[in-house]
Amino acid sequence: MNGPLFVMKTGETVSMTMPPVTTTQLVQYAGASGDFNRIHYDHPFAVEGQMGGVIAHGMLTMAFMARAVGEWAGTPGRVKNISARFTSPVRPGDRVRVQATVTTPEAAESVACTLEAWVDDTRVAVGEALLSR
């Protein structure tokens, strides 16, 4: 099944907002990803690290980006390449909005898009994805 990314024109944008990040989710993600750095769930430790408290795993934000791209592709699992650069921390309570802009013409063999993740007016990650038809 082809989703919106396969019929959008170059420069067109689609976006989706995730539910708020919870501390429980950060503990779940630590277990599921094997990233047990305490800055993601241990408040005093995160304060000592001068982060001003617990921050979400950057890779959780990237997982949100990948989830959105999968849904927009129609069938998830068609992602060939995906990359992200993290530009600002995400904290418990934040709702991450993912936005994709198509960069390839409609008839191309594969669809490329640029990705952005935002919390309110702060951009928290930028990236790119390539999907096969």
């Binding site: 599921a32 959780l60 992602v79």
Partner: protein, 158 residues
Amino acid sequence: MSEIDLSLVGSLSQPFVVEVERGAIRRFAEAVGEPSPIYRELPAARAAGFEDIPAPPTFPTAFRPPQEPAWTRDLDRRRILAGEMSFHYERPVLAGMRLECRVRFVDVEDKSSASGSMQVIRQQIEARLLDADEQAGELVVTCGRVTLYRRPRTEQLS
């Protein structure tokens, strides 16, 4: 002073085997709020054209060696931040696959910005399919990981 042994740039970790399990994929999908049934139910995965349950695109972030590689082992975890990550797939990662992975220490570079100075550590993880004879063959996925290692503020002031 650097806590990262620069003589290790270019090194490759010991190989380690990742067994891709359905339960691990389901728990990862649940943790990230991924709603698609293809990550949970075999019939849904098959209907989407996969032989088994596929892994979500960022799942290989969980392909970690049993022991931290020598070049990141002694770092202060409070000063580590994720910088960048990339996944390049040759084919989808599916439950039931046995993958041989290695981590490469690509390089490290010093950077300064308004928020402080840091070391930028680049690593690459390659996952290859293990066949019935335990031979690593076909490349499945390559992950690029850029980690930011912030210098402590006291060190920056001196």
